[in-house]
């Protein structure tokens, strides 16, 4: 299975192109090198965001001032939110693993538009740089939260314009990636790879691509409207100029809710790859998993109003949005059932990526179930904007997307780097991380039920005990993260050489050497069988 063929071509890591040193990376149009660029920038931003998160938790360990002022806290959760959403989880799996693996998994030599691909990385870095500039210039860092709600975002003296413009530029990066993937999937599948022979990770990237392409322009326009309002005083959203704050919320969530699916769909795709590989078994209900991805992407457009149940929409809008929110839970549930069914009568090889997948399923279910509680009108009216919501979305985006990202990292690490990692340390890190995660965010559900609002620098004594637990959980989780990352980095030096198919996977990336050669395939494969064929 893992006999390494002797390819003429050097691997993408060794290949000497036109440029040298750092330029051979930042000017490369190879989808694999671009993926690595994204990986490193993304991990840097993630570390920044996670550190801000930890500092916030330390502030919240006791009521009153602990380590920072209210102004700093408000700036921190704003920057934390912007970085985590726009710079980490939205690009997340598509930009890193999608870029690296999509062409390989469908048997292509690159994406459809390699230069556009590189451009989107530049947009990405520029966008984040603008957000960071806003922290250090003007009258002080932005303090609106990542949602930039009007009219507060017009009242604050914080330096809004660069941050908003940064988010705008990040949107373009996302649109370009989506467009690129759509065209790649439509035009560049290997001969014989019909739609229903395509692996599930590319399928979710396909569904995500449409969401990126169709939803992101809405936030782009909205952010431009904020800029126009702030500089030219055109009254779109600010009531003192004759605008409507609710219009802002509608526009914002029309994008930002589908954006949640940009974050989670590729994560589901990665999990759908990991599970069959380690089960040595074809995936259960392939067609239903494909259909549910498309259903999620489609219905996901029409439920943004569930972020606004207390803002005073019309009664009809309230219950239609609530009903659709319950409907969109069904396709996600179908996926969970199929994943678990895949484990039935399997022959499971208990390796690190599989543990991540199991962890993913557990936290994703908790995130999803808490979403039902928030989608229900009577309960949301109490829980909206409390720590319950903070717990819910960390379980979904950090638990869901984050666990899948780490799972994918441990799954494809041998392929990408050509090195194996130490599984004992990887598993230890996972256990520490998992316990910290559950303590940190699990407790927040109870804080929210008791009534602790979010974005609270200081809180009533009744919330103290819960916050102590939650903050200690953050410290444990941070420690687990460090173990995981350090283990992977040290494997780059000390890891054993990876065979081309260390896990017994069946999709195309496991048929080529690790790390892959520059052109991926010596000869484009001809596909005759489904993607998870273990017969």
């Amino acid at each position: 299975m893992s006999t390494q063929k002797n390819f003429e071509e050097p691997s993408y890591l060794e290949y000497k192109g036109k440029y040298k040193g750092i330029f051979s990376w930042i000017l490369s149009t190879d989808h694999k090198r671009i993926a690595i660029l994204y990986l490193f920038s993304l991990l840097t931003f993630f570390a920044t965001g996670a550190t801000l998160g930890l500092l916030m938790k330390l502030e919240l360990i006791a009521p009153g001032k602990t380590i920072m002022t209210a102004q700093t806290y408000n700036a921190f959760f704003t920057l934390h939110g912007i970085i985590m959403i726009f710079a980490v989880v939205i690009p997340g799996l598509p930009a890193v693993f999608g870029n690296f693996l999509l062409p390989i998994m469908i048997g292509a030599k690159d994406v459809a538009f390699p230069r556009l691909n590189l451009l989107s990385w530049y947009f990405y870095v520029t966008g984040v740089t603008l957000v960071l500039i806003s922290q250090f210039t003007g009258q002080g860092p932005p303090d609106t939260g990542w949602t930039f709600y009007a009219p507060y975002s017009f009242r604050t003296t914080g330096n809004m314009l660069p941050a908003v413009f940064g988010a705008f530029v990040l949107g373009f990066s996302s649109i370009l990636t989506g467009l690129n993937f759509l065209v790649t999937i439509h035009r560049m599948r290997a001969p014989g790879m019909t739609w229903l022979k395509m692996p599930l990770f590319p399928w979710t990237l396909y569904a995500t691509g449409w969401v990126q392409l169709l939803a992101t322009p809405i936030i782009g326009i909205t952010l431009l409207m904020i800029i126009a309002e702030r500089t030219l005083h055109i009254g779109f959203f600010d009531p003192t100029l004759g605008g409507d704050p609710l219009l802002y919320q509608h526009l914002f969530w029309t994008y930002s809710h589908p954006a949640v699916y940009i974050m989670i769909l590729p994560a589901m795709g990665a999990i759908s790859e990991i599970i069959p590989t380690f089960c040595h078994k074809t995936i259960f209900g392939y067609n239903f998993i494909v259909a549910s991805s498309i259903a999620i992407a489609f219905v996901g457009y029409f439920i943004w109003g569930h972020h606004m149940f207390t803002s005073g929409m019309s009664g009809t809008a309230q219950y239609v949005f609530s009903l659709l929110t319950f409907i969109v839970a069904i396709p996600s549930a179908i996926k969970v059932f199929n994943w678990i069914a895949t484990m039935h009568k399997a022959s499971i090889d208990l390796q690190t990526p599989f543990y991540w997948a199991v962890g993913f399923l557990f936290v994703f279910m908790i995130g999803g179930f808490s979403g039902l509680i928030l989608g229900s009108l009577a309960t949301d009216i109490h829980l909206h904007n409390t720590h319950f919501v903070v717990a819910h979305f960390h379980f979904i985006v950090f638990g869901g997307t984050g666990f899948a990202f780490f799972g994918a990292m441990h799954y494809w690490f041998p392929k990408i780097t050509g090195k194996m990692y130490d599984s004992r340390w990887a598993n230890t890190g996972l256990i520490i991380f998992f316990s910290g995660f559950i303590t940190l965010y699990g407790e927040m559900f109870f804080l929210g039920m008791k009534g602790m609002p979010r974005r609270y620098y200081d809180y009533d004594e009744i919330f103290h005990t819960g916050n102590i637990f939650s903050s200690l959980g953050a410290v444990v989780m941070y420690f687990g993260l460090a173990v995981i990352i350090i283990n992977l980095i040290s494997s780059l030096r000390n890891g054993a050489k990876a065979p081309s198919d260390p896990w017994g996977g069946k999709t195309l990336e496991w048929t080529i050497p690790s790390p892959p050669p520059v052109e991926n395939f010596e000869e484009i494969p001809v596909i005759t069988k489904g993607p998870y064929n273990y017969k």
Binding site: A70, N74, D143, G145, Y149, Y152, R155, P239, T240, D244, P245, C279, K281, F284, G285, Y286, F288, T310, S311, G312, Q318, Y319, S322, L323, I327, I330, A333, I334, F337, I340, A341, M343, H344, K345, A346, S347, I348, D349, L350, V358, F362, F369, S370, L372, S376, L377, A378, T379, I381, H382, H384, N385, G451, P453, R455, Y456, Y457, D458, I462, Y534
Partner: protein, 316 residues
Amino acid sequence: MYSTTGIEASNYVSTYNTAFYFIAGVSLLLLIGLTITMLYFVFRYNKKKNPVATQIEGNTFLEITWTVIPLVLALVMFSLGWSGWKSTTKPPKDAMNITVVARMWSFLFVYENGKQSPDLIVPVNTPVKINLVSLDVIHSLFIPDFRIKSDIIPGREKFMWFLPEIEGKYKIFCAEYCGLQHSYMHSTVNVMSKDKFKSWYAESAKAVTVAGNASPADIGEAIMRAQGCFACHTPDGTKLIGPSYFNLFGSQQTIIRDGKEMTVTVDPEYIKRCILQPNTDIVKGFPSTVMQSYRSTLSDNDILKIIEYLKTLNDK
């Protein structure tokens, strides 16, 4: 005194509980069931115990079952949430009307007879309808023990209503981020017996209640406390988002008027203008759109008392 669980402090507690316990209960059962199934598979079908996997492509009957059952459960959950919420939109005709004026970072409750209070004082077992007015940004009136919240949106007419069912004091929080002091924007609902409420309500329609022998300066301070001035100004020289009152009266202040910088003496005329038209003269180095006019809640007489109080803050 603040209860956070159990008691049915308002009409929404029981409907909230029905929806919450049903959804959370079903979810918990499913979570436990699915997790145990998954872990069982992981132990039963690991490589050692089951060296060869059985290839199963799927099963349409199962797919239909696990689509339909969750769908039915979801619809039940939806309808419980919906029916619990419906009543929030229909206040009883005989509800007592109170207006809340929210601004950065205080709530002020204004009653039909003109009475004002920073706390929400209501009689037990009487439906209360609160008209929601914000003078600056979006705030949200949240009473956890009543299981209700509603955003207060500037420029938009909105209300919320509830029926307080048990006497006692309950916390109010602001639940929409509104800037620097958001987490300090809180208040209390005080649910009184009907008799007690009646006598409180009938007391002269003064903005604040102070001891009978209070000096004008004391009354001024109490008014400012009730109106929330101290969220932005301090009496002791510390700079918050607004300038401190310390040594303010009679001093020379650099201000910006119509974009031009000038110096004025802080006299009663200037202070009155600052309170009623805060965006005319902007103190140099401070933001212009933060303080909102108090025209609707302060009378000339109140302002005179505020000025008396400010005079006491000069060191002699």
